[in-house]
Chain length 428, copies 2
């Protein structure tokens, strides 16, 4: 069979690792595919930069979109990133010219995935995006093909390695969020502009993709309820430990009678849960199917090597002409899910309030929650120096979030409250 | 597209669950495949038995091999079990008649897998065996396709739910192997004749298949070093806990310069390792690739629903005409691996000796190990009633197994030793 002719747009660390992988494991991959995987073109901004890989004999393009339109290419690998601009243009151009696309771009898919997949399917082309979710862990393949006989009820996971690293470090060292974030930035685990990661947006992009694959619904990123981890204090981590919980930024998608619930936020999960043991930059995804029950997949959720591994898996699928609808069913069969608002979430809550240490405060808190119909499960008040606000820490029995928010509003309207942190408790 | 016409040989719990899955999720699967998956024939011994599933309109065969040869069938699902006899005949007949095969039969594959795959490939047919390893966890797909760009260095896992259940129960209750086994038999977690599971043979079958898929070598079941869990005592479990280890029956396959090492035996693994948290009837498989690093997959390793889930994933692949060489590369490209004998295993050891409590015993033990070149890492002697043999428990520094066996032989040749238990320590 003829070699598969690959063009790579973007030669950052993932692009360079993909070049290295296809070079180092060329014989192995050829044996697995029955054909060669040849890189015939690359594009990046600076042609002189040393990327530690041999690019001799490979056509160089400064303009990635021009490369996507160039002749004699079978697949375009888009590793530029970003939800619009060049990345989107490259993918559209490639598909319009009859080339398959492989991308690690979760932002692009979360915003324009359905449109791109529709374009691909009209022309019988594949869009591979294993690398867009959970790095090297084959979660897309695992869900879409490995659990193909199941009705999936829920997918949840640890989808952002930066947040998981920060929360793990905070727990292990007792340090503050700001301190650990600064360290993570120095070590390259967090970007100079970290908002994308620590505000939960990256995890929400990935969750929106997983939701579509798991439930056969059109991607609906706008309906994901998103909270990040900036407000998690060293105290919250400590109190969580005392309650036998760990705090993780989780993405959760559930299909219920009312529609599909999608949310990304910090969770307290039991410290014995398998997710709790997933520490540092690792990612994990758990799917629950009606016949298979729960299946968990754990591995490196980012990094050049793992992401290149996922890119290469998609390339091998294309080389072998293994076709699967991108979102499990073809785009014309995707249903629109009714979003379930976060107020309908039912579960337990952790609440830390920083309050004045004076008469009537506990009555004010207890009264507000009782009026809202929220039942307290555990309660304690920590020490502080005289004059400082004291932490009041409680967990609730299961309740609707709407009730919890009513109670919290009533508490916050009282003048003794300085600050608060509410974390949802999930029993995975 | 025409429906995929499926014949199911064997209607035990897995067969019945497969019928139920294809019925309950028919619309979902049709949307995913773009065609219907129709069961057109079944075979089992007793046509009158109530299996809780509706078989009306489905042709009934008493002779499974006759069914495999009957007209108008696309795929034969073999759920009879056993490494020879009817199961083998059904698969051979199906392939000879141009039908794809899906099987959950690890014993058959471990013994005759290469031959069956060769037969299938000659005719352009698929043999799907996701259900043969680790039940519902899509490990075959995960390894073979999800990590297709990687050179795999190692695969290890907890591959037998019965053993894992027994060891978990022993740890949690402090009870003896015999007691827990009897309970497991009552609960249906262990067979009346449990040897297949507890002597490690079932895990070895699965490991031999994983080895072939991971490394592209011909299945070599005979070279798997196999030890079961009969000799693990409640004391060993207790001492392991004291040393911060858990005992798990593991299957381990490693590719080294000398060849491929395949072994199934009880291991002590650090209690913080992710494998240590896999308890009860759950299975887990970890693969290590050169680009992806470690990927772990955890889920239910047996049971009707999970196994039916894996069978259905293979059926969907066939329905979509997604073809992949069974063992990652085609049978003509499989290499023969040089087996690495267990004596070349390098690592630490746990050793419990039951010895007479008298002068010179410790010198005898220490001398034998020193002569063999084995260095002791930890050592303690437990109490017992006067006159009873006392347990001497030690761990060693890393050494070759050949040295360890020399030392153990020299210890056992002395008249003070009544009994012993040696367990390999693995730092996953």
């Amino acid at each position: 069979m003829d070699p598969l002719r690959i063009a790579i747009a973007g030669l950052g660390t993932v692009g360079a690792a993909t070049v290295r992988l296809l070079h180092d494991n060329a014989a192995l991959i050829q044996a697995r595919c029955g054909r060669r995987l040849d890189i015939v073109a690359v594009s990046a901004r600076d042609p002189r930069k040393d990327r530690g890989v041999d690019l001799s004999g490979i056509a160089w393009f400064e303009d990635a979109a021009a490369m996507a339109a160039a002749p004699d290419i079978d697949v375009v690998v888009e590793l530029i990133g970003g939800s619009a601009g060049t990345a989107r243009e490259v993918c559209q151009t490639a598909l319009a010219h009859g080339r398959h696309v492989v991308t690690a771009n979760k932002a692009l898919l979360a915003h324009h995935g359905t449109e791109l997949v529709r374009l691909a399917e009209q022309r019988g082309l594949t869009i591979g995006f294993e690398a867009a979710v959970a790095g090297g862990i084959p979660v897309i393949k695992g869900l879409r093909e490995g659990l193909a006989g199941n009705r999936i009820a829920e997918v949840h996971g640890i989808l952002n390695g930066t947040c998981n690293y920060i929360l793990s470090e905070m727990r292990q060292t007792g340090r503050s969020f700001a301190d650990v974030l600064a360290d993570a930035q120095r070590l390259g685990y967090a970007e100079a502009d970290p908002g994308f990661d620590i505000d939960g947006i990256d995890a929400a992009h990935k969750l929106a993709i997983l939701t579509s694959v798991a439930f056969g619904v059109a991607i609906d990123f706008e309906s994901v309820h998103v909270e990040g981890i900036r407000h998690i204090s060293a105290d919250d981590i400590k109190y969580a430990g005392g309650l036998k919980y760990r705090i993780k930024l989780m993405g959760i998608a559930r299909r219920g009678e009312d529609g599909v619930e999608q949310r990304v936020h910090p969770c307290m999960i039991p410290e014995g849960a398998s997710m709790a043991a997933v520490e540092g930059v690792f990612n994990a995804v758990v799917a629950q199917g009606d016949f298979v029950d729960k299946v968990a997949m754990i591995g490196r959720g980012a990094g050049a090597g793992p992401t290149a591994s996922a890119v290469s898996a998609d390339l091998v699928d294309i080389a072998r002409n293994r076709q699967t609808p991108a979102f499990t069913v073809t785009a014309d069969r995707l249903t629109q899910s009714a979003p379930v608002p976060i107020e309908r979430r039912f579960g337990a809550y952790y609440l830390r309030l920083m309050v004045d240490d004076r008469v009537g405060v506990l009555r004010g808190i207890a009264g507000a929650l009782a009026d809202a119909g929220v039942s307290i499960a555990t309660f304690f008040q920590d020490h502080r120096a005289p004059g400082e606000p004291v932490p009041v820490v409680m967990t609730t029995h299961e309740t609707f979030e709407a009730a919890m928010l009513r109670g919290l509003d009533a508490i916050r309207s009282q003048d003794f409250v300085h600050d608060h942190c509410m974390i949802r408790i999930e029993q995975f």
